[in-house]
Symmetry: C2
Subunit: 501 residues, 2 copies
């Protein structure tokens, strides 16, 4: 490699290290805020986050980057795949951030701060009109930003690309149409069957014992506690700093065993992905999971495909019984399996079962598409939301707090994020099919508490590559062309059997 | 104020804000490491701390600061006291840090990160030789840094100045000589008396209940939980980010009620100081407690002068009995008071009683003086340590884990810090004398659980000023000239009565 190219690469890595350090610091402050930090410490944290994000902006917007990136792009043929991808990813960030005029960026950041508070209040007070003017501005900014991100794409596609490189409305329209066509009738047939008994999941499960049960679950999943710890928060999430420092969080409800149990398994899936990323990518732009869709494929794979399978229940129920002998007395694996797979169209996305979950996403997808296209006015969001819940899920939305105000995504400026959740589920089902094709039966091992071949396959095909490949490319390398039928078939098979349809 | 002066002040405050943000981030990472973070995450944290401290260094070492500081110094007469002190403190940092070559500063930060892990392991495995090469490097760096900090002072004095502006070996030699002269005979006389019964403090105290008891103690101290939370760690400490974000930590031992109880009260004293600092100083160089000595005066004031007083025991014992009715059955205030004030020369500083505590400090003071002077080799630390414990405390040190490996200060690079603990105790005794002179009897209120007049006096005289005054000046404004006799008298009176000498 030429000396100048080598120097450019070193300069790029220095930039990436600084980006990483600031992200690590900001992530740490946010993690602390959401877990153990004092509740009244917002002002000081905001002050520090403001300064750090300014520093981050200055780093990316530094005019010196242009020369570095141009040199690397000119010498791309001489770079190894990692360095090429680092160049591509940093270029992408620089282009996006430098296309947003700084005053718009600052104004938008301030808007986000306000919007979060206004949304929280509006949700608590069931007052959509209070949030509407902010949502309008957020939509406006995002339509404008979409043009900055990629002026060659339709605005919503440009936003989708932020969360899932290469994703398009065309792919998603076909995907969701297929799901709607197949799942809506299936859910209707399930609705005619008697609901499985799940009262035993809502007995009293002391938090102190649930904490110990979380440890059991993490051990069963093979999460290495030297590098991965669990914290407690209002809305569970995973935060990763590098492949040896990953945090999962959960929320314990004394009268709900399933809630934290499946949070732990879901976040544990995210964590396995991050922990399995190859160390060589640490502290660079290639570090960590590649997209929200692929990330959700891992979390939902462990949560639903593994965690809600009968073989897994057979191994986890005895563990649960050890912690909760009285609460689970007389409950057998089959009953537990049915209870944690109970299908019930409901109002709140985060509490939805595996089957109806995608319908919640479809509602949001339809609304976002129209909002960003400018064909839906913000004031009409509630009635459209409610109409779609009626159409897709067959239920009436009683108020906006349980309707269009329920999620924090829009107040956080995340338009185009929701589809990742559904995509992730579909990716996972296709991964399972390919995995079974290649490995044969994996469920006998699961029943013995051994997830190592499953995790090994995912590590080999997905995890270890971190962000080296674009998400679509990574998925195709592992599983061939994306085909939503795998997901539809998986759900149909599972629930036909479960509900004896 | 002239426009240029105003501009210089704004530039200074921008620098201070950035310093604050980076310190906040680094403090957060360290706090996380010591409390909830994964144990194996040292590498990535080190990487980030390396970059952030690099940034911090660049900020302070920026040649542009010279013009800003010079302008402010030239216009000092027009500045308010806060701006003058900000200028003085930032100048001090710039002078010190710009004298440390950047690569040494970065290497030292990385060394600290490694040393902490190595020390922990060495302590657990009672393996001083494993830690010795790190200690050697740490001593070396600190000797060198002392010269950078203040080449006009003897090296150890320059280090002392880091923790207690204006402190000298001369003052400390006299102070410790006075203590030794008075306390060693007193301790000998106590040793002839029967030891008070304290077995009840070592019954089984479940950690879960001790956590609730910590909440009681924090409430009693008037610590506002919106801005102050408690975490768990190996070696209790307090971390503060601003006057609305303070963290205390403790360590629970199932068979020791007093250990965590007095950690909470001690760290709570630090926290009150930080929480009471005036908000106007937040995010500037004047924010937070002014020195380690003044800080320890507050923590040890609450821990010993208040927390180990009979009136306080009378109010806290019923609280403890509510949490631990069986363990404390039949224990009365007088017995509890005697138990928590039992004088017993012992091996571990942090478990030492109020009376012998200073002797532990003297050992460290002697060793540090010689290490930094270069008259003691690191390999001779254990035998010198053990000899001094024999001389001062009359006890044999069985191994280095209970000897020279017990404290985290040296692995954290803190040479010259220990004397603050003893100074703090002495400051506190003088504060009590002045407070009683001014307020009259405060103990009747303490007996009713009301610490508000005591805390109010400390807030008014000490806390609210943050770092506006130099520590010596602040102390003199509150209490007149420092005189160790107040401390000697306080201890003599308390223990003569307690042991009926």
């Amino acid at each position: 490699m030429k000396e100048t190219l080598q120097q450019a690469l070193e300069a790029l890595r220095d930039l990436e290290n600084r980006q990483h350090a600031l992200s690590h610091a900001m992530g740490m402050l946010s993690l602390d805020a959401a877990t153990v930090g004092p509740k009244g410490a917002g002002e000081g944290r905001g002050q520090t986050l403001g300064v750090l994000s300014d520093m981050y902006y200055a780093l990316i917007a530094d005019p010196k980057n242009e020369a570095i990136l141009s040199a690397l792009e000119a010498g791309a043929d001489e770079l190894d795949p990692q360095a090429r991808r680092e160049t591509e990813l940093v270029r992408r960030q620089c282009r996006q951030i430098s296309r947003i005029p700084q005053e718009e960026y600052v104004a938008y950041t301030q808007l986000l701060n306000q919007a979060q508070e206004v949304w929280e209040k509006a949700k608590n007070e069931n007052d959509f009109p209070a949030f509407a003017p902010y949502l309008e501005k957020l939509v406006e900014y995002n339509r404008k930003f979409a043009g900055y991100y990629n002026p060659d794409l339709p605005p919503y596609d440009a936003l989708l690309n932020e969360y899932e490189e290469g994703m398009t409305t065309e792919i998603l329209d076909a995907f969701f149409a297929r799901l709607r066509e197949k799942l809506v009738p299936l859910i209707a047939r399930i609705g005619e069957k008697p609901a499985p008994e799940d009262g035993f999941l809502h007995r009293e499960y002391p938090v102190e014992l649930q904490r110990k049960y979380s440890d059991d679950l993490m051990e069963l999943m093979g999460l290495d506690r030297r590098y991965c710890v669990i914290g407690e928060t209002e809305h569970p999430f995973t935060e990763n700093f590098n492949n040896r420092d990953v945090r999962i969080t959960t929320h314990y409800y004394e009268n709900d065993l399933g809630s934290s149990m499946y949070s732990v398994i879901h976040e544990g899936g995210h964590a396995l992905y991050e922990l399995d990323c190859d160390s060589r990518y640490n502290y660079t732009a290639v570090a960590g999971g590649v997209s929200m869709g692929i990330h959700e494929s891992q979390s939902r794979f462990y949560e639903n495909i593994v965690g809600r399978s009968l073989p897994f229940i057979k191994v986890v129920l005895p563990m649960a019984k050890k912690r909760f002998p009285d609460q689970l007395q007389g409950v057998d694996a089959e009953s537990f399996y049915r209870a944690v797979n109970r299908v019930q169209p409901s109002l709140i996305r985060t509490e939805a079962d595996e089957m109806t979950y995608c319908l919640h996403i479809m509602v949001r997808y339809e609304l976002e598409k129209q909002l960003i296209a400018g064909t839906l006015a913000v004031r009409d969001v509630p009635q459209t939301w409610n109409r779609l819940y009626r159409e897709y899920l067959g239920i009436e939305v009683p108020d906006d707090a349980h309707g269009c105000l329920q999620d924090s995504h829009w107040s956080g400026g995340a338009f185009g994020y929701f589809p990742s959740y559904a995509l992730g589920s579909a990716y996972g089902a296709q991964m399972l099919a390919v995995m079974e094709q290649q490995l044969g039966d994996v469920w006998a091992e699961v029943e013995k508490g051994d997830l190592s071949r499953i995790t090994g396959w995912l590590r080999e095909k997905i995890h270890r590559h971190a962000s080296l490949y674009r998400p679509g490319q990574l998925f195709e390398m592992a599983c061939g062309k994306f085909n939503p039928d795998f997901y539809v078939d998986y759900l149909t098979r599972k629930y036909t059997d479960l509900y004896q349809l």
